[in-house]
Every structure is written in C-alpha cells, then in structure tokens.
C-alpha cells in the first residue's frame, strides 16, 4: 500500500543522507522524496512517498524516529490530508491541432502553459500523484512528450493537526 510520510528534522549537514541511507540500508522503498527548510530555518521537512504492508511501515516509522536528527514523523495516509505534486512537462506543439488540444487538456486539468518555443509548449500542473499521472497519459494520446520533471509529493494534514515542535 502507498503511504505518505511527513518528517520534521534538524536542518543539519548530513541529516538527509541519514534518512536516504536508512531506506536503502533496510531495503525500504522510496517512490519519491522532497525536502526543504521550513519557515524556521533550523528545521527541515521531508515528505516521502513509500509503500509496504503494515509491518514494514511500522518499522519504517520506528527506524526513522530513532535517528537522532529526527524530531517527528507522521503517516499522513492514516488521516485526511492534502497531497500535492508539481510537474513541468515539455511537449511537441507542431501544428494548430496539437496546440489546441494541449491548451484544452491543460485547461481541463487546470494547469497552465508557462513557456512556448517554436515547436514546443511547457506546461505546469499541480495536483496529487493520481491527477498528474492522468494528465501525462492524456497528453501522451495527443502529442509527443519531450521531457518532464516531477517534484515528488508534499503533504500536510487537514484541519487542526500539525507537525511542529
């Protein structure tokens, strides 16, 4: 089962490598990982999308928590949460038909065209992983994808629940 984990940790040199190292050392899966400092620069926040059964997930949470730099970890999948990812995708826009279709699909998915070249459009889209997967699939029917980059998921709990010190 796919899980979204949120980790709050000390923004120290090497703290990210401890997380990544732990996952490879213990043969845990990483689907995506994002990291950046929080509004308090001494803290970093990581979102990891991973998968595993309950037993594996329990070990992942405990093992991450055991790292000295880690302050808190939570499994967002257990409760209501908002998950977002951003994709920048460059597609061929050779003729009017393709351009129209790309614009139409982008509008339907509520993305935006952020750059135009002679024969290419670059589109930005935000959403959860499922929406982005669907967007890529739909675009691929209509035109050729030249390159794409995804940020990996970030997530936050809905309501009053918060991951803070």
């Amino acid at each position: 089962m796919r899980r979204i984990l949120s980790i709050l940790l000390e923004n120290e040199p090497g703290s990210l490598s401890r997380i990544v190292g732990l996952f490879s050392q213990r043969a845990f899966n990483i689907e995506s990982l994002t990291v950046a400092p929080t509004e308090d620069n001494s803290l970093s926040r990581i979102t990891i999308a991973t998968s595993g059964d309950d037993r594996v997930l329990e070990q992942i949470v405990k093992q991450v928590n055991k790292l000295i730099d880690v302050i808190k970890i939570t499994d967002l999948t257990e409760r209501d949460h908002v998950e977002r990812e951003i994709i920048l995708i460059k597609v061929l826009a050779m003729n009017d038909k393709a351009r129209t279709e790309i614009k139409r699909i982008t509008d339907i998915f509520r993305g935006s065209i952020v750059d135009i070249g002679k024969q290419v459009y670059t589109v930005e889209l935000t959403g959860n992983a499922e929406k982005i997967n669907a967007f890529i699939k739909t675009l691929a029917y209509e035109t050729e994808i030249i390159e794409s980059v995804r940020s990996g998921s970030v997530g936050i709990a809905r309501g009053e629940k918060a991951l803070r010190i």
Partner: protein
Amino acid sequence: MANETFTGAEMVVKALSALDVKYVFGYPGGSVLDIYDAIFQQQDVAHILVRHEQAATHMADGYSRATGEVGVVLATSGPGATNCVTGIATAYMDSIPMVVLAGQVPTNLIGDDAFQETDIVGCSRPIVKHSFNCRSLEDIPNVIAKAFYIAKSGRPGPVVVELPKDILIPQHKAEFHIEKQIKMRSYNPTKKGHPKQIRKAVNAITQAKRLVVYSGGGVILADAADLLTELVEQLNAPCTNTLMGLGGIPGTHKNFIGMLGMHGSLEANKAMANADVILALGARFDDRVTNNVKKFCPNATIVHVDIDPTSISKTINAHIPVVGLIDVVLKQLLTELKEKQYQPDEQANSSWWQQINEWRSMKSISYEQGEGKIKPQRVVEAMYKITNGEAYVCSDVGQHQMFAAQYYPFDKPRQWINSGGLGTMGFGLPAAMGVKLAFPDSHVICITGDGSIQMNIQELSTCLQYQLPVVIISLNNRSLGMVRQWQDMIYDGRHSSSYMESLPDFVALAEAYGHVGIQINDLNELDSKLEQAFSIKNRLVFVDVLVDELEHVYPMQIRHGAVDDMWLGKGVKA
C-alpha cells in the same frame, strides 16, 4: 583579566577529562598530531597505543563492556579511521557505548581527495548511533559532550566525531565551555514503561501457566541483573539468557535453564516452544535465537520489554510491548506484582518445572572425553574450575565461543564479553586487554582459536608495552572449526578453505613478543599446565591447546525448523 583560551586539540583532551575519561585507545597520524601533542602535556587522560586501529575499537569496547563506561577511540584520518569500521560495527550490533574521535584533513581540502582523506562519517553512517562533523573550534567541547550523552543514553551505541585538522592547530584558540546537562529537542529517550502496559504485562505474567523469562544483553547494559534475578525468583519462573545476556541471572542459579537459540540448551529451547507466556527483557528475537520465525512459539503471548521501539515486533510480533529502560521497567514490574500480592499458581508452576526437569535430564550440554585427544569442552571446564568461575572471559568467534558460553556458567553480569551480534573474529584479544586494563587484579581470559587469534595477534606487542597479562587460551583445532562444522553438516564434508595450513608455532610466537608460551597436547597434562598458566601473574601466557579437530558444537538447531528442532549430536535429533 581575559579568560583563558585553548587550542582545539587542547579542548578535545580537556573535554575528555571533564567527562571523566581515563583511557583513550588509539594510534597517531598526521591529522591528529595536535591532539597527541596535547595528550603528551597532561596527566588526566592516558593514551594506550595499539598496533592496529581495529584493536583500539575492540579494546575500548571490552573496557566499556566490563566497566559500563563509554569506550573512547582516537584515530587519524583516512586509513586510521577506516580501520575502525569493523570495531564500530561490532559495538553497534551489541549496543556498546563508544565515542570514536577521527581526524580529518583540513576543512579547505575536504572533498579534494587529499592525502589520507576519507569520508568517515559517510563510511560509518549505517553502523553508528549518530555522528558529528565538527566544523568549528568553539563547538568541540559540546560536540564531544553530546557524543558521550548519545553514546550512553537510551539504547547505547557508537558515535563518531570527525575533527578536521584546521580546528585543532595551535594557531587558533578559543575559550572552553562545556555543558554539564545535555538537552536535545530531537533526542529524548523514553525511560519509564507506560503504566497501562506494565499492568497488562503483569496480568499476562501472573495468569501464565508455562512462563519463560527470556533475557538478553539489555539486562547487562542496564545493570539490571539483580532485579532480573529478583523477578525470576518471585515468579519462580525458568529463565533463559541469550548469548549476549549470559550473567543476567547467575549461571548456577536453580531457575537458570541455559542459553537458548542455535547452540542453546534443549531445555531452554523446549521451554520457549512450549511456553504460554514469554517475557522478553532486553532481547531482540535475533535469527540465531528464533530459527524459523514462522514456526516460532506460535502459542505464546509475547511480552516484550526493550528500550528500543524498533526492536519490538521487528521479527516476532509482540502482543504486549513495553518501551523503557530495563532496570526501570523491572522495578515497575516488581512494584506492580507486590501491589497485586501475587503468589505463583503452585500446581501449574510445579508441573511446568517437572516438564522442564525432564528436558534437563537429557543433559543436552554434554560431551564424552575418552582417552584420546583433548576435547575443547574439557578445556573450558578446566578453566572454569581453576578460576572458580570468577574470571572475565573474553571470546573470539567460532566453536570456542559457543563452548565457552555453554560450559562456563557466569554468575555475574559483564563477566562474559563477546561479539554476539556482528560475530567479529579478532575481537577477543583486544577486548580482553581493555578488560585487564580496567581490572588488573582479576583473571582475564581470552578464549580463542587458531583462526581468530591471528586476526589481531599483533596486539601481543601492546600487551607487553602496557603490562597486560591476560591469559590466552587457544583451542587449536588446526582448522576454522565452525566453518568446518557447517561444511560437515551442510556441504557433505567439502572443507573448502577451512583449514589453517602452515600455522605458526604459537609458543615461539608468544615468546618472540616477550610473553610466556605453553603448549598442551596431552590430556593428562591439561589441568596442571592450565594451573601453571593461571599462576603466572605478571606475564601474559599464551596457552596453545591442541584439541580434537573433529568435535562439533551441539546441541544445534536444525535449519529452517522451529526453535526446539535440534541436533543433540552427530545424526541425533531431539
């Protein structure tokens, strides 16, 4: 008047002294010469010069296991630091508090592949509790203080501190400030067990009809042996120890049913398999205990007490988990029992003991000496008798390790010192040296074999330099005994690379290093020559005992079987 200032190197030594460190085990080199210069100019902290950095880590480790204090290692950058890796991993697997101070090339050269540069923090990352890249002079005292705090609190473990040369040199000085109380927002290990879990645990224990107490290294590390014994006596429960937990309850105690696991006693493994409640204390259901986890004690309610939540339900699901320090939780359990005015169910208890005594009567830990070659077990029994069971026994890894665990009952915690988790050959001698340094008036034995002893034999030189008269007892079977045993049992006797051809003359070797060497090849001389070895007080004695090379360690769990599926001897199943 301006406050006094110090160089980084001086701060390192001053911090160690402030943390009551008596010994540092290490080896000098370019990047740490300033620290060595600072050590030279003071008396508080003594430096022990080893012959290989791996031995420094094991020596610090042995010192720590015997005393409970943090073992301290000092190594230079590059090869000095990488040589520590095996010792760090050994300490990590057995949760031994250790601080490794590793030199590093100057900050401006880091990343340039400078001479003797390695990323030791990166190299050691999977095998440390934590590590620090110290990057400024002012930080040194508190980084070291933090390293000590992390190493010894919670579940203990090794901590690496990397010190680049440019913050150690005499040109830069700063004031020395060290915090007495370390507080970290991201690290705050649990101490007490949750009261609700304690009540649940006591309920399960008191309702048990066939209870087994299964204790591990956590009891030793927490200095909780007396509390464990008190609990076992109150419950009149059978108690088994893991390899790391031996001495947690006296080895001669009537409730002790022997070590469990791969080479455990039949009664211990049978008791586990037939228990209705297992109380696991500071043990981690390691694969050398459980055998096939799918067949492990399917009918038992498992109460698992451990300081480390990751150890709980990792391999075996715990029905009642309790996270806390073992000594604290044991006190909580005893208090709760008292409040419940608990009395054992005598009928259930006595029929359980009757069953256990039946298994016991099969004497699974036994051997036949005969007239011929000396049996290795016989040597361990002899050394037990001569030392009244009071020696520190530091083991290498292999058959001799299992024979020592089986035939030398340990009445006190910290008496039995071995690399249980990592299984590091070469651990025994340096560990024994660390113990001897801490307890010069006690018998300190290094039990080893012709394979293991050669993995750190250069330390015989260190023993001479620091007057460390350990007694080395090498069960010499002219082969890598445990490897050979597996090849006999699993690989149809194909002895691939398990012979130690061209062994040195160990007696001459010991003498060349300035020690006493004794060879024993005749059963009739075994006791007298061993007594002679132990009577020599001020010199290291290397006893090379030629033992029966065909002997296997039994009992032995049958691969992929349940915890109590065992071989009792060659071709004999339980």
